[in-house]
Symmetry: C2
Subunit: 551 residues, 2 copies
């Protein structure tokens, strides 16, 4: 594996904390949080580019993502989060172009996925956590800067005769506004498609008057009264805030032990020579299901939260730090009854703010698996606990194999968690997605929730791909895994992206499908990344040169 053996590209560090932020200031003022962007030029992920004009790379976005998550857990009292810039002329210049033009294709694609997930999480916080995001564009917002604003619930722009919003990716760089920009313009803000087309080809963008007229922003204020107008609006929106005491999130960084990443509740064992990883999750204990009246007293170490945050971290480690691991097997160890008990307790307390946030964290983690470009196979053996919320991992996996040994118990089970708690990005539950167009099949399996389902029953109900005899189990699984990892990684990525999402699409799923797939294509094209491509040529003395063929 290039990464671990040569050390380059550098290992991406995901652990951070507001006290250590290099690019953001997070200030809490009662029911309002101010998230102020102040990117340190020299503190990007790599030393060979400078993050000028509040442009960002993954390091900046990791902090943003951390802030968005912490606000939900640590500051539930906050009702409005206002994002602005400490640079008084530039809100944000978007993703750093030199970073993009010098990154590998793999990094670019995963960087975009991470930023897209962060933007979607901002929208989820507004919709589900009663934390409304306001973008205060106190200076120019270009490209990813404006796309960040698009993820907010409302957008203010200073009317100072110079500040503009813009999506200059197409005219300047020959790539797309791929962090949801194209999709949110027309789907969310309902900018008419021909106006959106014009806007996306004008490098200088639109200043206050036109931005308001075209629906690109919600409010404009003259420079002289801008700060006050935004402060008043934000206070009005926040009201008295939400009444709750937060829970501090601890660091979930794994211990590195050779090729093994050890977390508290899970282990990720890499076998680089086989391009595989084994992800083993320890189930909860009976104790974890005892939720007190003040659920938040359980703290961030509570299994229901901690394990899923660890799982999220494991997925990020795979995406960025182990690109050649193509196949991940899911394993669990524990008692299915304890998972069901925890699920039941969570469902009973779902209106408690901390339980609500815990469930949303679980759902976000599951959604990440759906869009992660690795094969996931669930391997269900005696001693495992693929029940309820943990059974969602089986439903998220590309396939699931269950050992059928007459001498040893091996069961799976469903819970209320499989009935709608964790919608996928396209709006269906994983059971509805699995049994697309057959609500009777969904009903049939949900009717048996709580029941320990044996391998043959699980197979007959369509809940696992196959139940295999104990006699040939080892050989059959070995061959299945060997076959999988011999296939073209690109073809698998495309196949999985298509088969995992059946039926309808939403704005969110369109961002990952229609928009990201096109952007990925453009990221491979000489017209963008070739020696004379537009992305490569940016800031250089020569003009880009295009192959004019329209594909």
């Amino acid at each position: 594996m290039k990464d671990t053996q040569t050390g380059a590209p550098p290992r991406v560090p995901f652990s951070t904390h507001p006290s250590r932020y290099k690019h953001w200031k997070l200030e809490i003022d009662g029911p309002v949080a101010w998230l102020k962007m102040d990117v340190s030029e020299d503190e990007g992920l790599r030393p060979d580019y400078k993050l000028k004009m509040n442009s960002y790379d993954l390091a900046v976005d990791i902090e943003l993502d951390d802030a968005v998550t912490r606000l939900r857990f640590e500051h539930p009292e906050v009702a409005v989060v206002c994002i602005e810039s400490l640079n008084d002329r530039i809100f944000c210049a978007g993703a750093n172009i030199f970073m993009l033009s010098t990154s590998t294709h793999t990094h670019k694609v995963n960087f975009c996925k991470f930023t897209n997930e962060t933007r979607v999480n901002i929208e989820e916080a507004t919709a589900k956590s009663f934390q409304k995001y306001v973008a205060s564009l106190n200076g120019a917002a270009a490209g990813g800067g404006y796309e960040l604003a698009l993820a907010c619930d409302e957008i203010h722009l200073v009317d100072d005769r110079s500040s503009a919003v813009s999506l200059p990716e197409v005219p300047l760089l020959g790539v797309l506004p791929g962090t949801g920009g194209l999709t949110r313009l027309v789907d969310k803000r309902r900018v008419r498609r021909d106006l959106a087309d014009a806007f996306c080809t004008i490098a200088e963008g639109a200043k206050a008057r036109k931005a308001l007229e075209w629906g690109l922003v919600d409010f404009v204020h003259p420079k002289s009264s801008y700060a006050e107008a935004v402060r008043d609006r934000v206070k009005e929106l926040a009201g008295k805030g939400n009444a709750a005491q937060g829970v501090e999130l601890d660091d979930v960084a794994p211990q590195m032990d050779g090729d093994t990443l050890r977390f508290k509740y899970l282990t990720l064992e890499l076998t680089p020579g086989e391009r595989m990883a084994r992800l083993t999750i320890t189930g909860p204990t009976a104790e974890d299901a005892r939720i007190p009246a003040d659920a938040s007293s359980l703290g961030a170490g509570w299994y229901a939260l901690r394990m899923w945050r660890e799982l999220r971290r494991a997925i990020l480690e795979l995406r960025f730090n182990y690109p050649e691991i193509g196949l991940v097997t899911f394993h669990t160890e524990g008692d299915p009854k304890d998972v069901l008990a925890l699920d039941e307790a969570l469902e009973a307390h779902k209106d408690d703010w901390f339980v609500r946030e815990t469930l949303l964290q679980q759902g976000r983690t599951l959604k990440m698996i759906d869009v992660t470009a690795r094969t996931f196979f669930a391997i269900i053996t005696p001693g495992s606990c693929f029940a309820g919320s943990l059974f969602e991992l089986v439903l998220a996996a590309d396939r699931a194999y269950m050992l059928d040994d007459p001498d040893r118990d091996n069961t799976i089970a469903l819970s209320a968690m499989n009935a709608g708690r964790f919608p996928m990005a396209h709006g269906l539950t994983r059971l509805e997605n699995r049994f697309y167009g057959s609500p009777e099949s969904v009903g049939r399996v949900l009717a048996r929730r709580g029941e320990a389902l044996e391998p043959e029953t699980a197979k007959e109900l369509g809940l696992v791909t196959d139940a295999l005899d104990d006699i040939d189990w080892d050989d059959e699984i070995r061959i299945i895994l060997e076959e999988r990892r011999s296939l073209s990684p690109d073809a698998l990525t495309g196949m999985e992206a298509n088969l995992r999402f059946v039926g309808p699409e939403t704005m969110e799923s369109r961002i990952y499908a229609r928009l990201s797939a096109w952007q990925n294509w453009i990221f491979t094209r000489p017209n963008a990344v070739g020696e004379r491509g537009a992305l490569t040529s940016y800031g250089k003395p020569h003009s880009p040169e295009f192959d004019w063929s329209r594909v």
Copy 2:
């Protein structure tokens, strides 16, 4: 322009006729049509590959498309079309691999788009024209061969212990089953996603028993009684057939006049040096709106049919024979009132089979524009007739500019045709798509149907991008066109593919978006098309070599 100046790749010929088919036999037996595949190895589009084992290239698909369209117009009496093979061991081996591996990226992408449109048209014939398609797999159906079957309404497979259905693209070629295969498996046939995952990675596919069990086919019959069983079933489905006399379709090939393609009702003027084309449509006459009791007596020369078939042909010419023309302007000449009169007459006779087919042809042509990777701008000037059905061209265009000259009349108008007759692939009308999320805006403009709308009104209603003063008109339009054609063709393709479709998706639109965008990406990747890529290596002594990074 490479194409016209060097003559290579060869100009694609689109005109054909059943009497000249090289790869198919079309036999009509009362209410049943037999469409028999019998590909001539040496009659592909290029001489450097052989179409062995009923594999196909664009030449084969042009004939298939011709047959599907002719059956609807020339043989409305046919109620069932049964596709089978004259090769008694192979139904169809799919798209020819050597053709794929030696074609340009542009050709591959456009080839896939054409085949996808043909498959969608097969489904439209079943749904709207009462012509049910039955796939009779009297031998193995691999890759595109099985994808053709997936587009049919039911699939029969011979149970002979050797014939299988398969999608071997991922394991053998490192590309996707991109002619709708992945999407139709799960969305249409509702094959469970994990079974679809397994099926798509097994090169040898599934024989009769397993194919039936997994829902890959609808019926299997033993070899001894296969032909009879299919014949009986097809006769049963066909019943007495439909009662109507067909209309023979004439050839719509243009006259070539230097860089101008002249059709009867439209002209395509290319200016290769500017990478632009001007498409001018002549409107109908008052006479065209007189529809007799037997509409079919109007014949294929009738404006309402002929013009739209010519437009379809012009789009195909652009796609395949003029890849460097990036920007097409739409113009019309005629009286808007005559268009409205024709639309009204069509609407009044919409239940007549010939009028129904004519309207479907118009709708299919408009859908082609939506997925064509060229910029379309509508230029609305005095003397034009962008009304009703022709106004759909404005709605399909990326932008529309209208000349506002106080001394000369220049109006547009809507008709019933804009209210639901021509849905886009994702199910919305072009007006609903334009005013996404605002049914009141749709209602507001439809309330004014029939009215001649002046430039300022058209702009105020949101029906055109801008209304420009006559004083600067020439300069402004020139600058707008110059700016557009200076942009990266790839970035424009991606941008247009995203902005043209707002909101929901359907199986059909998912095939063009999620599936095709991923396939296009894979078609640029070294793991498929590099020197040691899987597609390039197929049939060669060396094994493919992969860069194992997962993107």
